[in-house]
Symmetry: C2
Subunit: 333 residues, 2 copies
DNA sequence: TTGAAAGCGCTAACAG
DNA sequence: CTGTTAGCGCTTTCAA
């Protein structure tokens, strides 16, 4: 017969002090005698006491949970290497503070409405945003909710209001582009991501900053971070810019699609066309040839993101961080 | 100045009824006059009232949250197509019942301990397990916690105690193997998953059930569901069984690794060796050649899993479900 | 340093 | 059908 869950009263009784003292021990407050503290700790482990969060939350009006809001459509999310890393890091770091991670998907009106209600209901102490687009309607609800938010990857246009940790997208793109140039490529095209994401616009900026005024409209096409989109984009690029000898693709997944398109068009890689990707995700070693790509320090990004949020919850001042990338040379360029 | 969040009292006042009646309306109970109900609904939207879950939870001792426990190591989880689908479906379905999804990672001692504490603390109304291994120490903690649990994919050895929804792994493996046989392949090897997972043992059973006593030890090697593992396994298989003309691989990711190994060994696919995968995950179309593979109805599996859990929470009787797979023929076999 | 006591906002049992 | 009421388990004054 499973006994009823012990409450703080049981602990108080077992340790011979009052509820108040137990609470003080539990919350690590100073004004407690060593004897009392020891007695309480013993009683806690004897009784198997675990704090009732609902009761605590009712009293403190803090919930002990953080929402991670996913506003990407499904396909992208799934392929997003940021995602799983961030999730793991966040879960672990938050657990250390006895907080938990609630997941919400907000890629349609209903989802956004739910998130807004959730925040309005005060059900979360903080918000973790991941690859959020510049014009996401959710951002307004988030601001209105007054709940502290941080982002993994900058939220374009809100860089100053939503602290973030991110890779140096511009620098990484520059690395890849310079590498292509150094290898003697002269007619370099690019497939970008959606321009309302940092990976979309900043990686394009990095690309054009290297090539300067040599970049023309026909050399750049826009993709959507999906593999099929990358394939289509590559076809378009080949049409607009048939004699290209290299392409920088803003994500590995799109690069995999581009590889297929090149293959279908009878171009050899890297012989005819060199291909460089971005992310260094799992797929980069699954393609043939394997992708030369730009690695982001995902672990660090994730850790920093969570660190920012925790600092924010503690009402400390926070500063966004941008982390360096690394070019990983494989076979495709 | 953001006003304090309205409580049920504010709604009661605004609608001219008592707290009790408001609560009844909110919880959809029958004994309420139409007039009262209307007044309450109006007051709710006027005041912007959102229920305080902590208070409700304190009273009802239900928490309104479900934990999704991930016990896979990182790499696998990330590549697991089940995962994102299940997450999305779960989030949506649960949101309809005003419940939320809490994520916990339990792939080491610390993680398991946290999950156990969380459950002991009564912080969750239900548990969603995903690709849990047979001997996972967490299972004991889960059973002890008495919290209703369901699994996405059977938990070997607990099929009768933890309801699940899953693809027909055995049948799918049979489909793939029969297809290879039908294409005239005679020397067929297999790379399995870990045998303490249903995808590991059942897919192997399907394979051997087709080939019967023709299967020998040297034709089967065991992988770990990673790409690198698939590559290693293929090398071992080529060593043990050099004249094979086909291989059935228990996951697409491992199949991608196998493709690399075959390529390195100078075997053409499907010319020298036909390759069939399992999952029909994103990577199946990213390889060259693209993978012939077995598709699992992930959406349905996820939906069914969540449906089972909800039924369990409602104290209905539940029955595990096994869903049919489909062979997707592409280029590799 | 500690105990006593007042609620946090809600639901459900009871009385009407 | 509806109002009243008694807590759920906890934190946090306030006194001592």
């Amino acid at each position: 017969m499973p006994r009823k869950r012990p409450t703080i009263n049981d602990v108080a009784q077992a340790s011979g002090v009052s509820r108040g003292t137990v609470s003080r021990v539990l919350n690590g407050q100073a004004n407690v005698s060593l004897a009392a503290e020891l007695a309480v700790r013993r009683a806690v482990s004897e009784t198997g006491y675990v704090v009732n969060r609902a009761a605590r939350s009712l009293k403190t009006s803090r919930t002990g949970s953080i929402v991670m809001v996913l506003s990407e459509p499904q396909e992208r999310l799934f392929e997003d290497p940021n995602f799983s890393v961030l999730m793991r890091v966040a879960t672990n770091q938050l657990a250390e503070r006895d907080m938990s991670l609630v997941l919400m998907i907000a890629d349609d009106v209903g989802g956004r409405e739910r998130v807004a209600r959730y925040l309005r209901g005060g059900h979360a102490d903080g918000i973790l945003l991941i690859s959020t687009h510049a014009d996401d309607p959710l951002l307004e609800a988030i601001e209105r909710s007054q709940v502290p938010a941080v982002a993994c990857g900058a939220v374009l246009g809100r860089e100053s209001v939503i602290p973030y940790a991110a890779a140096d997208d511009r620098g990484g793109a520059r690395q890849a582009t310079e590498y292509l140039v150094d290898r003697g490529r002269r007619r370099i095209g690019m497939i970008t991501g959606p321009l309302d994401t940092p990976g979309g616009s900043l990686r394009m900026e990095g690309f054009t900053s290297v090539l300067g005024r040599k970049v023309t409209k026909r050399m750049v096409v826009h993709g959507d971070y999906t593999q099929a989109g990358g394939e289509r984009a590559m076809h378009r690029l080949l049409e607009a810019f048939p004699n290209l000898d290299a392409v920088f693709v803003a994500s590995d997944l799109m690069a995999a699609g581009a590889l297929q398109a090149l293959h279908a068009a009878g171009r050899s890689v890297p012989g005819d066309v060199a291909v460089a990707g971005f992310d260094d995700s799992a797929i980069a070693t699954a393609t043939n040839p394997m992708l030369t790509t730009v690695r982001q320090p995902l672990d660090t990004i994730a850790e920093e993101t969570v660190r920012l949020l925790i600092a924010l919850l503690d009402e400390q001042d926070v500063q966004s961080v941008v982390l360096p990338t690394e070019l990983i040379v494989r076979e495709s360029a």
